[in-house]
Symmetry: C2
């Protein structure tokens, strides 16, 4: 079969690779994409997921990009305990009230054979003080910071850890909300309030760059309203990204914790004036939730679409083999794969014994940014057929191998740019600025897709409380661009 024939077969298949489609049922489509792209699956542990190799490779690419950016800010990676004593959690009252209740609690340290022969927690191994599995690490890292920051010379102290955390979630959805998830959590301590405030803003800017430059997601950076602040923070900052269904994803957060945790953890230092002062701290985190955001921003009814800069593979090379000319085709494919790899591209050469259309659909569903097909004709002529995942069949081009090798990186750059522009246009087209609360009410009553932007003062009007309740919408953020005068309202994940 030539590449051309294979394409014809593909065309016959007019169904979408993922059912239901986005329009039919967005939440089910989301699960369908994860399955089609083989990124993750539900674990046999309540509310947890298994991140499969293809999904994990994406997360590793996100990690690498973000880790480099975090280091460039002078932050050092370290590792703190998974278990937090209950007494630590209790220290910051507001933190406890608003946050630290739904936790996995460790109460025993040994198993033994129970009456039915099964394993049970050994009664005599009951812990005097239970532990919780960290839902976040302000309290335990604060405990170390209290030891390490003795003098103003020890500040700023900038720490980050990549780890798993756990919050006992009742309604879970893969990547978006799972009981266990992976993230980085940064914790910085400073001499002055000004430095801490600037740091919280700066780390949010790091996230904005990661989202725009790497994930091609154009979020709206801003401040959380008082009701939506992180418990224990003076001010919380966020990037709110619009998903294709018009809902908001809180894509990351950065908190100016003021002196709250410094006080509860005892982070104090001898200042330049010789007196003892409380430090000013920040914390900032980005999690595997970003993968969910990536899916809901870019994927389509045929599956995932990976932005090239974080894509596990840049190019999928698919040999289109008829029996007689397999050797020659495979040789051409291997040569191209090596050539592209040498130029730094991540290449998937599909040598499996599946049917050609299955290989093609697999590359499509996985969202590999560029697909290359080499059949008998291409091999003989020294050409390749290449197709961009983001614009599909319309981009189908045949050119000489050397020409393709020379321009592949440029095409990937175009795809990256196109995905960002597309998402930016979508977001801009779905933010509706209203002049009254009743306009906001009408927008959500009509079940329109997107965010409402309105005067921040409206939040205090009694009529807004009704809108909030009737349509389950929340203030997402006070965008920086409007200097706190406006607020973005929407449904959210």
């Amino acid at each position: 079969m030539t590449a051309q024939q294979a394409q014809k077969n593909e065309k016959k298949n007019s169904k979408t690779a993922v059912t239901p489609t986005r329009a039919e049922n967005f939440p089910e489509w989301y699960q369908g994409v994860i399955k089609a792209a083989d990124m993750a699956e539900n674990a046999p542990v309540r509310g947890c997921m298994v991140i499969k190799p293809y999904g994990y490779a994406l997360w590793e690419n996100i990690q690498r990009a973000l880790d480099d950016m975090i280091r460039a800010e002078g932050v050092q990676n370290a590792y703190f305990p998974l278990l937090i004593p209950l007494s630590f959690i209790s220290r910051e009252a507001e933190h406890v009230e608003g946050f630290a209740k739904e936790c996995a609690v460790v109460t025993h340290h040994r198993l033994e054979k129970g009456p039915k022969g099964n394993l049970v927690p050994a009664p005599d191994s009951k812990l005097e003080e239970p532990f919780v599995i960290r839902p976040t690490s302000e309290t335990i890292i604060g405990d170390s910071m209290a030891k390490w920051a003795q003098s103003y010379r020890d500040l700023p102290l900038k720490l980050n850890q990549w780890c798993n955390v756990m919050r006992w979630e009742m309604r879970t959805r893969m990547f978006l909300r799972t009981s266990e998830f992976l993230w980085q959590e940064g914790h910085n301590a400073f001499e002055t309030a000004k430095e801490a405030h600037e740091d919280a803003i700066k780390m949010l800017e790091i996230y904005r760059r990661l989202y725009e430059d790497w994930l091609a997601i154009p979020g709206i950076p801003g401040e959380k309203t008082d009701d939506e602040r992180f418990p224990g923070a003076d001010r919380s900052f966020t990037i709110e990204a619009m998903m294709q269904d018009g809902k908001a994803l809180q894509a990351c957060t950065s908190h100016d914790l003021g002196q709250n945790f410094a006080k509860s953890c005892g982070i104090q230092f001898q200042g330049r004036d010789g007196n003892i002062h409380l430090a000013h701290t920040t914390s900032w985190g980005l999690s595997t939730r970003s993968v969910g955001g990536l899916i809901m921003t870019h994927a389509d009814d045929d599956g995932m679409i990976m932005p090239p800069r974080v894509a596990p593979y840049h190019v999928a090379i698919i040999p289109v083999i008829r029996d007689e000319d397999g050797g020659k085709v495979m040789e051409s494919c291997t040569q191209l794969a090596n050539r592209l790899k040498e130029s730094g591209l991540r290449v998937l050469l599909d040598t499996s014994d599946r049917r050609t259309p299955d290989k093609m659909w697999d590359a499509i569903k996985k969202g590999v940014p560029m697909r290359v097909e080499i059949g008998a004709r291409e091999a003989a002529e020294g050409t390749v057929t290449h197709i961009r995942r983001d614009i599909g069949r319309d981009s189908k081009t045949v050119c000489a191998v050397s020409e393709f090798a020379g321009k592949a990186q440029g095409i990937l750059n175009d795809i990256q740019k196109n995905l960002l522009e597309k998402a930016r246009t979508f977001t801009q087209n779905h933010i509706f600025e209203v002049k009254t609360v009743s306009e906001a009410h009408d927008f959500f009553a009509a079940d329109k897709t997107g965010f409402v932007k309105m005067d921040a003062a409206f939040l205090k009007e009694p009529r807004f409380e009704a809108v909030r309740k009737d349509f389950s919408v929340t203030p997402r953020c006070l965008p920086f661009t409007d200097e706190g005068r406006k607020v973005i309202i929407g449904r959210s994940y």
Copy 2:
């Protein structure tokens, strides 16, 4: 102060940087090195540690090196849940008997205010089935493998995860034995017993290369005796490394699990013959314990000595500043730092306002492989004074900046080689081959340093049982080099 004067001051200080010394009290010296090098400290959580930035940077370098080697074997990274249902743990009987008892057990999922106003596990949040925090993941990964391996076409299935695990240890020591530790655990599944066996051996060979080529630790690869096997494994392989006190460190393990876990987890596939077969699996792990091994192999009475290939910093540049010529000295230091960084070296330029001798001692205690001092004379003459950490003052050399920049990598290579050779010589000189059990008895009775090597058949002699008990020694491994005929005996960590 010139570099020369500073050196004189340093010489006056004839005490060692770490007390007690190795000879005086090896275990306390070990803790002292960790403290002096600022690598880790005990956590406020029983049996756990905080890995500080300098220790974590070392672990990240080990991770990166090993991860590359693991990927090159076609293994894919993924992530599986932290919590394991008790029913999973119960599946493999031998695994339960020998292994899975001392675990952190999660029994509740919510906290509430208790009678005294403190937080307590909410009684109504008690879990129907408790979970344990993974002590290792054979059972939970096996559960996924059972889904993913349907046909022989899905095999081999090669998975690895970098994660934290937890075993409730009673006697803990930083890096060597902590309740929570970090590791990678690889889990591979194959069609045939032969492939699984070869894989277990191959992954051990990967570890041997990591230890020798990167950590400069010459271990003894071999097989565990039946008593020392991993519960649930058919055969266990290990690398046993000799520490400077003559004790053995089990540096990593690789297990041929036969069909044991395939049976208990239901990992079966349709074979080439159309019938359903059980898979053959392996598992293999290397942990933060390797950091402990690195310390006990290379460190001396002045602190850590980092093998260059995994060292957080290759070169510490120390400005030796008198008031008047600070600017010129700093300029020379910065220029050199940039030049070395450009050539790919990891450089620590100590710009802190500490005293010069403190900076020097800090570099020594942290084990930075090479120290460079630039004072007024060096800055004026365009020279540097450089000192190797592994051979100390004897290596002190003054040369032109450009000459140093050109040869720095070569010196690092020499240091790497020297550390391995030194450790190899030490190990070889402390393995005593005995011809009878009573000779083995005499060796340990005389409290000699090192391993005994003897005929493997001696293990079955009743007299050996006495040696084992009297001196707390165990068979460490049956070295591959002796094809199972000999056994290495020793005390161990």
